[in-house]
């Protein structure tokens, strides 16, 4: 008889079925066996979940797991553990490793590392162009043939419109998604933060919001031209949201993500030159943040993605202009969204779960993740305490500690993460 676990009395939030009610969830083997009041839990391990939320396991469209190449900052295994600790059951691993994931070989390597760890489903992202150089297309077809669904040169945009146009068009053969880091390289060159009052006062070269908006428009136009599937990564500027709204209304096949740090922090947080707030794209103005929050709430922005970007301590503890951009985010994403968006009433809990799980699973093309929580479905679940406060501080599960949330108190703590019926995190602790 397969192992049975019963989650008793949780508030079950399942955006796919629209369920949001207190219920029991019985997991048998790797699948959900029953959902409802007073499910028959005979012989099952009973976990009391009163006061807790049970939802589909979270899905991250955007994480840097750094392996191969920078195993001192993160590995597929430590990144998987950090993901599970944060309630994620699936993570898309960006292609900017060393070597770059621009061939099936690197994709297979990341996959086998993830399978060996067995803590979180890792979806390797393929590069759009060879070596992320922006010139020749990477082996999109070959990578698609082994199941890669998302392609991105993340770290920079594909600078030449013609190259991106071809990629969007070519990708149609496999119905895969071209994901863009939207940033005009000549406008953003040398930029350390959002261009505005604070960059001028701090004497740091700025990246204007327009450096993103210009490429967002270009890419939307190319998606319209080609009919290809476009995904806009980590949007940061209010103008990008307006363009996205227009494109969606016009029927362009486009989706978009936003990070927790862009939803929470502002350019003014950089006044002490804390490199943990140095991210790319940069933290922007209050108006930009407001536009991002509204667009997430109304569904214009589909998903929340972490852009988990671990960096070695010695790299990040440096002069501001010499430190690499990025913050880790897997362990804080859910709590940040609960604390800063759900708690103040800017986002419903159901929409938050949709943006953190259902929508990204759909974009990734994964039918196993993101719900629904129904009998027969793979048991990829998260259980969290929405009212538990905790302080973000080392040690992190991630190998790195460059968190923009360092020292902050967040509300909402992951207790259980379930990957195909197996508790990979139980009572907030990683399981071996």
């Amino acid at each position: 008889m397969p192992e049975r676990t019963a989650f008793i009395g949780a508030r079950v939030v399942d955006p796919v079925s629209g369920r949001d009610e207190v219920a029991d969830v019985l997991v048998e083997g790797s699948v959900v066996a029953d959902v409802g009041r007073d499910v028959s839990a005979a012989g099952a391990t009973r976990l009391d979940c009163h006061g807790l939320v049970l939802a589909p396991g979270l899905v991250d469209l955007h994480a840097h797991l750094r392996e191969p190449g920078r195993e001192d900052a993160e590995t597929v295994e430590t990144g998987s553990r950090a993901a599970a600790a944060g309630g994620f059951t699936a993570v898309a691993a960006m292609a900017n490793t060393d070597p770059v994931a621009d061939t099936p070989a690197v994709v297979e390597e990341v996959r086998s590392l993830a399978a060996r760890a067995g803590i979180c489903d890792v979806f390797p992202v393929g590069a759009i162009t060879r070596g992320l150089a922006g010139e020749e297309m990477a082996a999109i077809g070959e990578m698609a043939a082994i199941g890669v669904r998302l392609f991105s040169d993340d770290g920079h945009c594909v600078p030449a419109a013609r190259v991106l146009r071809n990629a969007l068009q070519y990708a149609k053969a496999f119905d895969v998604v071209i994901a863009e880091h939207c940033e005009d390289p000549s406008l953003a060159e040398g930029g350390q933060m959002h261009e505005g009052y604070h960059s001028y006062t701090l004497g740091l070269p700025g990246k204007p919001a327009e450096s993103e908006e210009i490429i967002v428009f270009r890419d939307l136009a190319l998606a319209r031209l080609t009919g290809g599937r476009l995904h806009l990564q980590h949007l940061s500027a209010g103008g990008s949201v307006e363009l996205l709204r227009w494109a969606k209304a016009a029927g362009v096949r486009v989706t978009a993500e936003v990070t927790p740090h862009h939803l929470v922090f502002l350019d003014e947080d950089l006044v002490t030159y804390d490199t943990n707030f140095k991210v790319n794209p940069p933290l922007r103005s209050p108006g930009d943040r407001e536009a991002l929050r509204a667009a997430l709430a109304d569904g214009t922005i589909d998903a929340i993605a972490t852009d988990h970007a671990p960096h070695a301590v010695e790299d990040k503890e440096a002069e501001f202009d010499q430190a690499p951009p990025g913050t880790i985010g897997l362990e804080t994403a859910l709590a940040a969204v609960l604390t800063h968006l759900v708690e103040p009433g800017l986002l419903s809990l159901s929409r938050a779960i949709e943006a953190l799980s259902t929508a990204p699973a759909r974009i990734l093309g994964s039918s196993e993740h993101g719900g629904p929580i129904e009998p027969g479905r793979p048991a990829n679940l998260v259980v969290f305490d929405p009212s538990a406060d905790w302080i973000v501080e080392p040690p992190f599960v991630s190998r790195s500690r460059n968190s923009a949330f360092l020292g902050r108190t967040l509300r909402g703590k992951v207790l259980h993460t379930v990957l195909r019926g197996r508790l990979v995190v139980a009572d907030g602790k990683a399981q071996r």
């Binding site: 009052y197 701090l202 740091l204 070269p205 030159y273 010695e314 440096a318 501001f320």
Partner: protein, 312 residues
């Protein structure tokens, strides 16, 4: 006073007056045969210069020595820094050696802030990237007060590449704090669009501003900016924004001409203009030593100049 001097924004108007007053009492030391007081005897001041700057480094060195501090000059060429040591490791080393104050000059904006995370002593910003140069602003204020006797309502133009000038930032913030009426003058590409939020005015027309000034402060043209195409050519810049003889004639009588040095004669300032009696660049340099003595003294130690032990 704060423990560190990172930005002029950390210093209140009241403290600025105090710094200038203490500098006043220290300036007399520089006129003696034996130019030294024992105020900081036994204290260690490190000059940590990641950028070449002979005049600022020497000014700090003289200031510390005239206060009897032990001075260590840590410059980047031929040191562990040249061998790739990080700012953090250098900071920890200086900390271990017991530095009471670290004077840092760095090409990265914010480097002095970063340094404070690893050292217990006071950090003095001697110019960081395109951010600030607070001791320059203070010595400029000292010079202005000495020559014109006030700040309130004083009309000051800061002319040139404001966008990349740490001097312009610190001086603007300080002058606004002291009640002066500041106008930034330069080509639109070199004036931050949000500058009015600093409490200053902006003009792109030097000739319109000059007749209404008490102080005309010229910034150094940074020729390396040329390739980024902020202006069509240095020649065009000099024609539109250089302080020529003709332009000096537009200044009211008694107006000061200032420049933080080193000057590009013939670019932002004509050679014979720089040598006019109303051009006070040499006084600026002399006052710099007194200002830095005052700052080191106030940050490292005592309550007032009376306790400084003015023994001759």
């Amino acid at each position: 006073m704060n423990k560190h001097l990172l930005s002029i924004n950390d210093v209140s108007a009241e403290d600025i007056v105090r710094i200038l007053d203490v500098a006043e009492s220290f300036r007399e030391v520089g006129t003696r045969v034996i130019k030294k007081v024992p105020a900081l005897r036994g204290r260690t001041v490190v000059n940590l210069f990641y950028e070449n700057s002979t005049r600022t480094r020497i000014s700090f060195e003289l200031a510390a020595k005239r206060l009897s501090a032990d001075v260590i000059n840590f410059t980047t060429s031929g040191t562990s820094v040249a061998k790739g040591e990080s700012l953090k490791d250098t900071a920890l080393t200086l900390q271990a050696m017991g530095a009471d104050a670290i004077v840092i000059r760095h090409s990265s904006s914010g480097a002095p802030y970063t340094l404070t995370r690893w050292v217990r002593g006071s950090v003095l910003n001697a110019g960081d990237g395109t951010h600030e140069h607070p001791t320059q602003a203070l010595l400029d204020l000292y010079t202005i007060r000495e020559k014109l006797g006030r700040f309130e309502g004083l009309r000051v133009a800061i002319c040139g590449d404001v966008l990349h000038s740490r001097v312009a930032r610190s001086l603007s913030f300080a002058l606004v704090k002291m009640g002066a009426d500041v106008t930034l003058v330069g080509p639109p590409t070199l004036i931050p669009p949000d500058a009015p939020a600093w409490g200053v005015q902006v003009s792109f027309d030097m000739d319109e501003v000059l007749p209404k000034l008490d102080v005309c402060y010229m910034l150094r043209v940074q020729r390396e900016r040329q390739r980024q195409q902020y202006v069509p050519s240095v020649r065009e810049y000099a024609r539109l924004f250089g302080l020529t003889r003709e332009r000096v004639a537009m200044l009211p009588e008694g107006a000061l001409i200032m420049h933080p040095g080193p000057m590009n004669r013939g670019v932002e300032i004509d050679s014979d203009v720089a040598d006019l009696p109303q051009a006070v660049m040499e006084e600026q340099v002399t006052n710099g030593i007194a200002i830095r003595m005052s700052l080191l003294y106030l940050l490292l130690g005592g309550g007032g100049p009376e306790e400084a032990g003015h023994d001759a």
